[in-house]
């Protein structure tokens, strides 16, 4: 049995990793829940954001914060463009999975073309900084990512709950025809939401560039984890996604600490399988 300090440290890193999961899950959960589009390409977008942050930082010495600021509007437009394609071809929930599967592979290939399959590491002065709380270390960057995830989750929740646009989006998700009859312009809001969700992928990407080592195949390692998070959290439920991210992150890091790291992927995938079998109605 590992020591209490080790378990505590595992808990901390689980929560912090969970923040990133939550951040990645946020955009996916929104487009799945409110637009009924399963956007696998969300992961590819996030990784693209990470590589862009890396490139801007290493060749042009743009600070990651500035890079993120530039990436967000670009990704917003990218998301709108993606939605234009979906809307034009009337993509359904099921075909969206196939189409974005293809898009993901294209983006993965593009990334591999420009940055090769080698591992890349973005060295920044922040990378090693950490806070010390008693016997535990809290890496600053990951904490920042976690706080950003929480801030975005709460902001999104408020947006959906209290603003006209948010209510209209939820109404359209429930019944597009009735919402339209009451004057909701679903099309315009769908573009907005798709853009926002892609922008979130950009934000997640910036943090991923700072925190982890980059490789094109990383896209697929997130799929299981983040889908599990989205489904546990409940579709279109930003705060649920955040909390589910923590849950999965902690259970993974505890598995790593108590068993071995190699078994960790089993946790999220098993949770996903069990959930799909026991509570398919959640989705």
């Amino acid at each position: 049995m590992p020591s209490l300090t080790l378990l505590g440290q595992a808990l901390v890193s689980g929560v912090l990793a969970g923040g990133i999961y939550g951040l990645l899950a946020l955009g996916l959960s929104l487009s799945w829940g409110l637009l009924r589009l399963v956007n696998l390409a969300h992961f590819a977008l996030a990784l693209l954001g990470a590589y862009l942050t890396y490139q801007l930082g290493t060749t042009f010495h743009v600070s990651p914060w500035l890079a993120a600021l530039a990436i967000v509007p670009v990704f917003f437009l990218l998301g709108c463009g993606l939605h234009a394609v979906f809307a034009y071809f009337r993509v359904t929930e099921f075909t969206s999975l196939l189409v974005t599967f293809g898009l993901t592979v294209i983006l993965e290939s593009v990334i591999q073309w420009f940055w090769t399959a080698d591992y890349r590491r973005y060295e920044t002065p922040y990378a090693t900084a950490s806070l010390r709380v008693g016997p535990l270390f809290i890496p600053t960057l990951e904490m920042l990512a976690c706080l950003t995830a929480a801030a975005l989750a709460f902001a999104t929740w408020g947006w959906l709950r209290f603003t006209y646009v948010g209510k209209a989006l939820r109404a359209s998700a429930e019944d597009p025809a009735i919402a339209a009859a009451f004057g909701v312009n679903h099309r315009r809001q769908a573009y907005l939401l798709s853009g926002v969700s892609a922008a979130y992928a950009g934000v997640a990407g910036a943090f991923i560039a700072l925190i982890s080592t980059l490789a094109p195949s990383q896209i697929w390692t997130w799929v299981g984890v983040v889908f599990a998070v989205v489904i546990i959290g409940g579709l279109a439920n930003p705060i649920g996604a955040l909390l589910a991210g923590f849950l999965i992150g902690v259970s993974e890091s505890l598995t790593m600490a108590v068993v071995t790291p190699a078994w960790a992927p089993l946790v999220s995938f098993s949770v996903l399988i069990v959930l799909l079998i026991v509570r398919p109605g959640r989705v």
């Binding site: 697929w220 889908f227 995938f269 996903l272 399988i273 989705v283």
Partner: protein, 586 residues
């Protein structure tokens, strides 16, 4: 064998002989390997389509079965010294068992939609990969098969793999063709379009999905076993990756997943274009190009290349879509046997049936009887439980309490497909035809899986009879979306009749029809009654109910509030108060 099956069989055998001859003449190793890869993908893509194409359950887990096969062969040959060919059998059986096991769990899940099944199977792939990686099956470093002896048939040792791949590919394509024409395929196509209706029409949906999944997985397992030997070095990273599920989906969708030859055509196109881009950066480009094709095909040509080609070809040749049906009709001698009368006495008995949905009590102790050759009208305000009762009798919902029987046979404990096979059929208030099946095939499906139990061939002849009976004879080749409401309502009737039922449950067949159509529908119902069928007739149109019913049952809030002769029942004080009173207010 005659006609098309014979031509297909001859073609497959000829192709096989051709490729064997090509190899014995002495094929350069490069081409041997190139062709093997294509054979392997044909087997994988075609086997995937047996479940995912025919029944529409898109699996992203084909890599799991392929990988299970690879590791079975790798483990058995290297650790237990089992001869290579025997391990293929084991690989197939193990993968099939895995598929059946997964299917037995996930197909029990109600409301398991396509995209959830896809995610679930993808997750299973990664779980299996993690287990293999962390246990003694692999343990991390991978397994080398280079020392495993390969039985030699042709000049080169790899010739054996070439022949095995060829045999598996042709066998799988042949199986896909045969299944597509058999009961199994017919049932799977119906599941693709509307699983609930398929079950109510008599298709044993759970069993069929399970069989298709096991078969699909088993073939993938054998393909994996052969491939383990081909690559000679098996690793988890390469095996349980996204590559196999990506490519099989892509190949099948490109070629046409619902057509038996579609996946093979897609596999050939994609596998050869992938071969053109090999090595380093080019492979990256190739993968991107393939993915781009996937996206474009799904968006622009969602049915796939082969069906699209066949459609243009037929349009160009100006031949009708159901020439096949006409041919089968000609090959059946004489008219179908006369329907057996239901016999005297009571046909359908509903005894004290209760059904609740959450807190809503939809049926409260409903009892009624319908005799053979009798029409019982079932009326009541909206929400009184009429359609629920039909759903319970047809087995779509289980009863909470009470008994439903057909003669002596209890129905209420059976799944819907058994109820249908015993001779209960129904129509839907809003017609629910199978969208991708022609009117003829819609009706033939009922004849195949209903009490009539026809073979698919006989069923088409039988179906044509019922289409004529309902006046749809000239629309046999039309797809449901090409029919108008009146025709779709009559298609529902034809479908209900083709199963040769003893009991027919008619759920508002007249609603939405104009007076002329109503008159002809009433005529049809009288003819059905004259053949000795028991009819439970749900209807709002009182004129028709009073004209047709021998007995009337009035439901309100899930309770029978009156029954007896139509005039009597409608005059009962509670009926006047509840039913007519409410309808006057409305």
């Amino acid at each position: 064998m005659s006609g098309e099956p014979r031509r297909v069989a001859i073609t497959l055998v000829a192709v096989g002989v051709g490729f064997v001859a090509l190899a014995t003449v002495g094929l350069p190793a490069f081409y041997e390997s190139f062709l093997y890869i294509i054979f392997s993908w044909i087997a994988l893509a075609t086997s995937w389509a047996l479940l995912s194409g025919y029944a529409g359950y898109f699996s992203f887990g084909h890599g799991a079965f392929f990988g299970a096969g690879m590791y079975t062969t790798a483990t058995l040959t290297t650790k237990f010294n089992v001869p290579f060919l025997w391990t293929l059998l084991a690989a197939g059986i193990l993968a099939a068992a895995l598929g059946a096991g997964i299917g037995a769990v996930v197909f029990r899940v109600k409301r398991l939609r396509g995209e959830l099944f896809g995610l679930l199977t993808l997750a299973i792939t990664f779980v299996l990969g993690t287990i293999v990686l962390n246990t003694r099956i692999d343990g991390g470093p991978g397994v080398f098969l280079s020392a495993v002896p390969l039985p030699r048939v042709l000049a080169s040792p790899t010739g054996t793999l070439y022949l095995l791949g060829l045999a598996l590919a042709l066998g799988t394509v042949g199986a896909a063709y045969a299944i597509g024409r058999a009961r199994l395929g017919f049932g799977l196509f119906a599941i693709h379009d509307d699983e609930d209706v398929a079950e109510v029409e008599g298709v044993p949906t759970f069993r069929y999905k399970l069989v298709a999944f096991a078969l699909s997985a088993g073939i993938a397992g054998v393909a994996g076993g052969i491939h383990a030997m081909y690559v000679g070095y098996v690793t988890v990273g390469e095996t349980f990756s996204i590559t196999v599920p990506l490519y099989v989906v892509l190949m099948s969708v490109l070629g046409g997943a619902r057509h038996w030859l579609g996946p093979a055509v897609g596999a050939t196109l994609i596998a050869s274009s992938l071969y053109a881009f090999t090595g380093g950066q080019q492979a990256v480009l190739g993968r991107a190009a393939v993915a781009l094709v996937l996206v474009a095909v799904i968006l622009v040509l969602p049915e796939g290349v082969v069906p699209a080609f066949l459609r243009y070809w037929r349009a160009w040749r100006g031949r009708p879509r159901v020439l096949e049906a006409a041919r089968t009709l000609a090959s059946v001698d004489g008219p179908a046997p006369a329907r057996s009368a239901g016999g005297p006495g009571v046909a359908l008995v509903v005894q004290d049936v209760w059904k609740a949905f959450g807190g809503i009590q939809a049926l409260r102790g409903v009892s009624l009887q319908v005799g053979a050759g009798e029409i019982v009208g079932l009326v009541g305000p909206n929400g009184s439980g009429k359609t629920t009762l039909i759903n319970v009798i047809s087995g779509h919902y289980a009863t909470d309490r009470g008994r439903i029987a057909l003669g002596e046979v209890t129905l209420s404990t059976r799944p819907a497909h058994e109820v249908a096979a015993l001779g209960v059929s129904r129509t839907y208030q809003i017609p629910r035809p199978f969208a991708h099946l022609s009117a003829l095939d819609n009706v033939a499906l009922a004849a195949t899986f209903g009490a009539a139990r026809c073979s698919p061939r006989q069923a088409r002849a039988e179906a044509r009879r019922w289409l004529e009976f309902t006046g749809l004879g000239r629309r046999a080749g039309a797809l449901p979306h090409e029919l108008n409401l009146h025709e779709r309502k009559f298609l529902e009737l034809a479908r209900a009749l083709a199963g040769q039922p003893r009991v027919i449950l008619l759920d508002e067949v007249l609603s939405g029809l104009n007076p002329g159509e109503i008159a002809s529908a009433i005529g049809l119902i009288r003819q059905i009654q004259a053949q000795g069928v028991a009819i439970l007739f749900v209807e709002h149109l009182m004129r028709a109910v009073l004209a047709l019913s021998d007995q009337l049952v009035v439901l309100n809030e899930g309770e029978v509030i009156a029954s007896g002769s139509p005039r009597e029942a409608m005059r009962a004080p509670r009926v006047v108060e509840v039913y007519l009173g409410k309808s006057h207010v409305a």
